[in-house]
């Protein structure tokens, strides 16, 4: 659908300050130009709603994996110590899971935490495309140091002109403009 009459297709505005880029993103939003992405050395609080990113629901993963871990641990302990071989420890109740439950709490808890934490961490790495051997994809190496980079995709903003975008970037404090 895009009528690519613009060269370049991606414009990067490089800012020196996190508050500057946040305000600049607000200006772009007010001008109805969508910001494709923002690269920064640290999280900029409040930028996600401005550039139209929905709240992440990665914590759901922790809940799902935690529930899985708990269920698997219950199944394992029930099979080993109730169903397969009830172990008589000083004559303590061992014939039903419920009667023996208090002694099982620590392992159930640890298994829940183990699966929740690792499951969510793996989900996080996959969602962020983070694995050993992957090459960095930030547009400028200084974005992990002290530069804040705004990425505008001209294909997404087919009715905006190059001059409009660069003009707005410069007047909101961008110290450098890069194109690709």
């Amino acid at each position: 659908m895009s009528e690519v009459t613009y060269n370049p297709s991606i414009i990067y505005g490089i800012f020196d300050d996190d508050d500057d880029i946040l305000r600049s993103a607000k200006v772009f939003r007010a001008n109805r130009i969508s910001v494709a992405n923002v690269y920064s050395p640290f999280p900029i609080h409040g930028i996600d709603p401005v550039i139209g990113h929905p709240r992440t629901n990665i914590s759901v993963a922790a809940f799902v994996f935690g529930g899985t871990g708990l269920s698997l641990a219950i199944l394992m302990i029930w099979y080993m110590l109730i169903s397969d071989w009830p172990m008589n420890v000083g004559g303590k109740p061992n014939w039903t899971f419920a009667a023996n439950f208090p002694a099982f709490v620590p392992v159930l808890f640890e298994s829940t935490v183990f699966c929740a934490a690792h499951g969510m961490s793996i989900t996080y790495l996959l969602l962020n495309r983070l694995l050993p051997g992957f090459n960095p994809r930030n547009p400028d190496p200084r974005s992990t140091d002290d530069k804040f980079i705004m990425e505008i995709n001209m294909d997404e903003n087919w009715d905006a002109t190059y001059d409009e975008v660069v003009g707005l970037m410069k007047s909101t404090g961008a110290s450098e403009i890069k194109e690709r």
């Binding site: 050395p41 992440t56 183990f114």
Partner: protein
């Protein structure tokens, strides 16, 4: 957080006027420069000590547990003391990175990275002791719930020792992941600054291709928060379960319900002492005085007063309960602790853990780096004696006076313990030269709120309304779409 107003009531957490780039340069300096002679000397010493410990472990495995000082009455002594001591030291790292994150304590950011590293190395040291105490380590996998050749006899889930296996392996692996997830963005910073191809390659591998876009950061923050939420009960559970190794038995002096909270407080107490010992050296050696300030030291000292006082109250409660219970065995166990053959261990523990930390009530001592360093060493020693007192004095006088025996550590016992200290320092020294010892990118988020921020370019002055272009009125399909999505 970055836009919160400067709080004039508190001391700044970052000294001097810094730009974001200054923070990067300061924290990356130890990694990008060559180590000095002192580093090599200390590293060499630690490494040799570690090798000595490894040699003695090999000797133990080859010869048998008889080379340790254990006997029939005191079958837990030096080894389990060291195990509990090291595990306790590990607790500060998770406390700082998880519990202080939930409490939004900004001062955690300068010390959480190093404290977590300390946790990981300490847990490795701790795990060595029960593993080699098994005697036949090659069948160590029997602690896992695996099918085996003895029919259907499974691991005993009623046993606190098995709970320990689960607790410590969960604690170790979750701490490691939590630490690493925080390290990825900082490795990326080092990667993007690296000059030599070797460093570039290594840090590219370590940083997993971190990009630092808005979505990645949003997920990063969420994951950190949830991991902190999971680690908080986890860290409390670990030492609770360690204390249950003792508390669920019927040995006088062990069989008390006060053990879980008392052990957790003691763990945090000793962990903070070790963090202080290390950080006071690190800030000096690596030149990080601007980031690990007196305000940080004071905050940690306040936690030492709190947890030290809880430990003190626990000691007195134990004494009271042994008398009040009317159980003669309990009464004797505590009388024997204070006046028996190990009275010196008991009174070392009392002096180091109950009296010395109370000196921190005086602001002058709390803010003095020298005094803090000395007291932190006292606490480290005191907490080692605490575990020694609990374990050895309770065991060496059995219910049967005919089996009463004293414990004498052998040179192997002492050597393995010294070896773990060597391992700990070897790892920490390597860490200090290759990893960012401070969470440098996280630290940048608090610079504006708790330090003096140096702008590198003039602040653009405009009003958002003034920059709405006439040419953009009624346009912007893509933006509309993004808005609906939001």
């Amino acid at each position: 957080m970055a836009t919160a107003p400067l709080n004039d009531l508190r001391d700044p957490l970052i000294l001097g006027e810094k730009s974001y780039h200054d923070i990067t340069v300061d924290i990356c300096r130890p990694i990008e420069t060559k180590a000095n002679k002192l580093w090599y000397v200390v590293f060499g010493l630690s490494f040799i000590t570690m090798l000595w410990g490894l040699g003695l472990i090999a000797y133990t495995v080859g010869t048998g547990l008889g080379v340790w000082g254990l006997n029939k009455s005191v079958e837990w002594a030096w080894d389990i003391t060291n195990f509990v001591w090291w595990i306790g030291i590990g607790h500060a790292g998770t406390l700082i990175s998880a519990i202080l994150l939930l409490f939004r304590q900004r001062w955690r950011m300068s010390i959480n990275r190093a404290a977590e590293a300390m946790t990981i190395f300490a847990v490795i040291c701790a795990a060595l002791f029960p593993v080699f105490h098994m005697g036949r380590v090659w069948v160590g996998y029997w602690v896992l719930p695996l099918p085996n050749q003895y029919g259907s006899l499974w691991a005993n889930f009623n046993s606190p020792l098995l709970w320990d296996v689960f607790a410590i392996s969960t604690y170790f692996s979750v701490s490691l992941v939590f630490w690493y997830i925080g390290l990825i963005p900082d490795f990326a910073t080092i990667r993007d600054r690296a000059i030599t191809p070797m460093a570039k390659k290594a840090y590219t591998l370590l940083s997993f291709g971190w990009t630092g876009n808005a979505k990645a950061w949003a997920r990063f923050e969420e994951v950190s928060l949830v991991l902190a939420g999971l680690s908080t009960p986890l860290v409390l559970s670990v030492h609770t379960i360690v204390s249950m190794d003792f508390a669920t038995s019927v040995i006088p002096g062990w069989h008390t319900t006060i053990f879980p909270p008392y052990f957790v407080a003691g763990a945090i107490f000793s962990g903070f002492a070790m963090v202080l010992t290390l950080m006071l050296i690190v800030r000096k050696v690596l030149g990080l005085e601007a980031y690990i300030t007196v305000a940080h030291v004071e905050a940690m000292n306040k936690i030492i007063i709190l947890t030290g006082s809880i430990v003190g109250v626990a000691y007195l409660t134990e004494l009271f309960m042994s008398w009040y219970s009317g159980v003669e065995y309990e009464q004797y166990a505590f009388l024997n602790r204070a006046t028996g053959p190990y009275w010196w261990a008991y009174w070392s523990m009392m002096t180091c853990n109950v009296i010395t930390p109370q000196l921190f009530w005086f602001p002058k001592i709390r803010k003095s780096l020298v005094a803090t360093f000395i007291i932190s060493i006292f606490v480290n020693i005191g907490m080692w004696f605490e575990r020694f007192v609990i374990i050895v004095t309770s065991l060496h006088r059995d219910y049967l006076p005919s089996s009463w025996m004293n414990f004498h550590p052998s040179f192997v016992d002492i050597g393995i313990f010294v070896g773990t200290i060597g391992f700990f320092f070897t790892m920490f020294l390597l860490f200090a030269r290759t990893f960012p010892v401070i969470a440098l990118n996280e630290l940048k988020t608090i610079l504006k709120a708790t330090g003096k921020y140096k702008r590198t370019s003039p602040k653009p002055e405009y009003k958002v309304e003034d920059l709405i272009l006439e040419s953009r009125k009624g346009k912007g399909g893509a933006t509309l779409h993004a808005e609906e999505h939001h």
